[in-house]
């Protein structure tokens, strides 16, 4: 189960709204390499992971991703406070506003709704961990792209924190993959799925 701690993992304090920027940053909520997809990817994959250290890693990183989703949502929320209809129209936020007002809804920056096809849970530890390492890099690239568009230091600060977390998670998943490979049966030369025993006979 989960337990909610009433604080963000990293503080968000944005005093100047900017709905145009909110549209872009929203992609890290519900986009293809966003935090919602990340959390559901790891938390779905952990059940078929046969090694306890790596199941622990998927649980703990998956949980941290939920906290990152909350940070992104706090950024989008604070960037869209106190807007006038004129500001909404001039910024291009009107296309989002018409369906969601100022509510948070998971979508990519281009308007594509969140879908579970953004991630995979394949039931094979090697396949899943290689996907996870790729996912962390894709998220890091997305944050790099966002940082090129952001001038406001109050927005840059938490985005930089999130970017750094992608790098740490990539490193930890690499260690997880190493643990899986160290555990492979020496007869399993072609690294058939170690989580599906029928292959091993």
């Amino acid at each position: 189960m989960w337990n909610y701690e009433k604080r963000l993992q990293y503080p968000v304090k944005i005093t100047t709204p900017n709905p145009k920027l909110a549209m872009v940053i929203m992609s890290q909520f519900g986009g293809p390499d966003g935090e919602l997809a990340a959390s559901q990817r790891y938390l779905s994959q952990r059940y078929s992971m046969p090694y306890r250290e790596v199941s622990g890693l998927l649980t703990d990183i998956g949980t941290e991703e939920m906290a990152h989703m909350e940070i992104i949502c706090a950024i989008v929320h604070q960037l869209t406070r106190n807007l006038t209809p004129e500001e909404i129209q001039a910024s291009g936020f009107d296309k989002y506003y018409v369906d969601h007002t100022l509510g948070l809804w998971p979508q990519a920056a281009g308007g594509v709704p969140f879908t579970s096809t953004f991630f995979q849970s394949k039931g094979d530890p090697i396949t899943d961990l290689v996907e996870d390492m790729g996912a962390e890099q894709k998220a890091r690239t997305t944050y790099d792209n966002i940082l090129r568009l952001v001038k406001d230091p109050e927005v840059c600060d938490p985005i930089r924190f999130l970017r750094e977390r992608e790098i740490v998670h990539f490193q930890r998943f690499g260690e997880g993959l190493r643990i899986v490979q160290d555990n492979l049966d020496s007869k399993n030369f072609y690294a058939f799925n170690p989580a599906f025993k029928a292959d091993m006979k």
Partner: protein, 84 residues
């Protein structure tokens, strides 16, 4: 920075130190140096967490000191500008 913000800043810092130590220990479960670090941060974190809850209000719905009012919903939520 107000008293509350200073106390929350300690929680951010110590909580982050713990988040980092936890992930590292998942893939290095026998690293004694990392465990020592974890123990130190854990102690400091709990101290800061308890101090915050005593002075400023609950951080977890299970820690509410229930008198005649439900303090859990009185204080700002973390995504509010006033909540950080």
């Amino acid at each position: 920075m107000s008293d509350r913000q200073q106390c929350m800043q300690r929680i951010y810092e110590l909580g982050f130190a713990m988040d980092e130590a936890i992930l590292f220990l998942d893939t290095h479960p026998c690293d004694t140096e990392a465990m020592e670090y974890y123990n130190q941060m854990q102690q400091k974190y709990h101290r800061a967490y308890d101090e915050y809850q005593q002075k400023f209000g609950p951080l977890n719905a299970r820690d509410v000191n229930c008198g005649n009012r439900w303090a859990w919903v009185e204080l700002p939520w973390p995504w509010e500008l006033e909540g950080c």
